[in-house]
Symmetry: C2
Subunit: 357 residues, 2 copies
Amino acid sequence: MNKHNFSAGPSILSEYTIKNSAAAVIDFEGTGLSILEVSHRGKEFVAVCDEARARIKKLLDVPAGYEVVFLGGGASLQFCMVPFNLLNRKASYLDTGTWASNAIKEAKLFGEVDVVASSKDANYTFIPKNYRVGEDSDYFHFTSNNTIYGTEMRYDPDCGNGVRLVCDMSSDIFSRPVDVSKYDIIYAGAQKNLAPAGVTLAIVREGSLGHVERAIPTMLDYRTHIKKESMFNTPPVFPIFAALQTLKWYKELGGLEAIEKMNLEKAAILYDEIDRNRLFRGTVATEDRSIMNVCFVMNDEYKDMEADFGAFASAAGMVGIKGHRSVGGFRASLYNAMPKSSVEALISTMKTFEKQH
Amino acid sequence: MNKHNFSAGPSILSEYTIKNSAAAVIDFEGTGLSILEVSHRGKEFVAVCDEARARIKKLLDVPAGYEVVFLGGGASLQFCMVPFNLLNRKASYLDTGTWASNAIKEAKLFGEVDVVASSKDANYTFIPKNYRVGEDSDYFHFTSNNTIYGTEMRYDPDCGNGVRLVCDMSSDIFSRPVDVSKYDIIYAGAQKNLAPAGVTLAIVREGSLGHVERAIPTMLDYRTHIKKESMFNTPPVFPIFAALQTLKWYKELGGLEAIEKMNLEKAAILYDEIDRNRLFRGTVATEDRSIMNVCFVMNDEYKDMEADFGAFASAAGMVGIKGHRSVGGFRASLYNAMPKSSVEALISTMKTFEKQH
C-alpha cells in the first residue's frame, strides 16, 4: 500500500533526496566507497559541503556579511548557543509554544529575558500581536512555525527600532522567501524541510558576533565554525550530503516562490476540508494557521470517534497524523516534499469517514 | 579496482553496516518508509535506539549505575560538556596530542587544570609515564588513542588514589575490553569504530553528576539525555541505526576479546613490515604504538620518494594513507572493520615498492 507520510519530523523527504542518498551509501560519486566511510576532508565531500552552503545562500538570497554553517546537536543546542554568542544584557523573546519556551529557559541563564508576549494561557492557539520589543534588546527571538500547535508567522517581523531578529525556523525554513537582512541568526534543525536528523543549519550575520564579554566554549562559538567553513571538527557528513540533494531539488522546483505557492495550495485544500467537514474543526486562530503543520480535532459531538478515525486513516495509508499530546486530535504535516496527491488522499479519507458516520 | 580504505575517520565500516543501512534508506523495517523520514518517536526507531544502547552496555560490560547516551555535536563538544558537568575546582589532564590539548583548552574555562604530563616537546611521539594525578582532582582526563600521532594507551590507567577517569575513546572504542568501572565518563565520536559521522556516544556514571554548582544549559547536561533515554530532542536517527548494525556485527565477530585479537594481528604484521622494510620507519615509541592508526615515514635517505610511494599505493587501491600534516609521511588506520586482507595488500605494496627502488 502507498504510504502518505504526514510525520511532524523527522519527516517526508523528496524521492530525489532518498534515491540519491541510498545510491551514495553504496558508492559515493564513483569513489568506490560509501558516503558513510569517506573522509570529510576528501575533495569530494568538501565540494558537497561547499556546494550545499552556496546553494542555501542562493536559495534564500542571503546578503553579504552572512555565513552559513552546518552544526550538530539539533536546534535545541541553538537555544543556548544563541545567547552564549549574542546576549550581553537583555534579549526579547516571543513565547508561542513549547520550543519558544525552551529557548527562553536557556536564555535566562545568560542575562535578562523580556518575554514580550505569550499565548500560553490559550494553549498557544494564536500568535500574539501588538507586542513591543524594547530598543535596548540585543535581539528579538521568535519561532516562525510552532510544529506542535500549528501556528506560523509567515513574515519577518519588524521591531521598528533597529533591533535585529533571531529565529528558530526549524519547521518552516525553505517554505517561503525570507528577508535575511532583518536577522542576526536564523537556525533550523534539518529534519523537516532539508535532510534527515543530525545536522542543524545556522545563517549568521558575522557583525553580530564578538560583542559579548563571556568566554564561549570553542564548539559553541559560531566564529569557530564560520572560520573553518563547517569543518572545525567532523561534520555530520551524510545528512549534509542529503541536504545538498534536497537543495538541488528545490532549484528544480523553481525556488522558494514556487515552493511557497505549492505549500499554500496544499494547506488551503486541507483547511477547506476541515472547515467544511462536520466532523472536524481546526484548533488555532484562522489568521495564524500554519501551512506546514495542520492541527485539527473532532468536533465535540464526535469526540468519541477520534480513535476510529485514526485507525481508518491509518488503514488508508496515512502515517504520523496523531496530534501531539499537548493538543490532541490530529496533525498533518505538509512539508515541502509532501505531494498534493497525499493531501488529497487524506481529504478523501476525511470525506469517506464523514459519509460513513 | 578494489579499494582499501585506510582513512583516519570517517573511516571504513563493515559491509554488514553499509548494506543494512543502504537497505533501510529505501525501506526501514517494512514500514514502507525510508529510515531518513521516520519519526524518532515511532515504535520502530525507539526499539532501534534502545537496542543499540543495550548492546553497548553488554559489549563493554557496563556496570550498574552507568548510562549510555547518544549525543550530537561530535567529541569536540564533549571537551566542554565534561567540565561543565564534572569540574568543580580542579581536574587533571594528560596531554598526548592535538585532541587532548583541545580538551585541556576547554576545561580551563571551567576551573583549574593540572596538566600532569605532556609529550608535546617530542611532537607527541610517546605517551608520558610516571605522572601523578593529585587526589584533589575531580577527575583525570586522557585520550586513549591519538589518531594523528599514532600512539595509544591500551589500558585503563589507575590513579592509585580513587580519582576516576574520563576518557576520549573516539578512535579506539570497541577495539578492546575496557574496565568501565574505573571511569566517570567515556565518550567517543562514532565515526571510527561505530557509525557514520553525526553521533557521539557517552557512557556516564550517574553518581558523578549533580555535584557542580554552576548552571548547566539543558542540552549540555548529561542528566537531560539520560533521563529521556537519548530522546530529549530529535537524535541523529540514521547514524544510530547504522551504529546498531555495527554492534550486531561485533556480536557475530565474538565480542571485544575476539576483536582485540584480530586488531593485534593486523597491527603486528604492518609494524613488522615497517620495521623490516629498508625504506620506512615508524614514528612513535615502540611500546606506545597504536593498533588503530599506524604512522610511518620514509627513512631519511629515501625521503624524496614520499610522493612516489603515495602515488604508487594509491594506484594499487590504497585510500587515505597520507599522514596528518603534523606528522607527515603515511598513516594507515586499521579500525575494527578493516580486513586483514587490506593490510596485507598494503604490505605487499610496500614490499613491491622496496624491490623497485
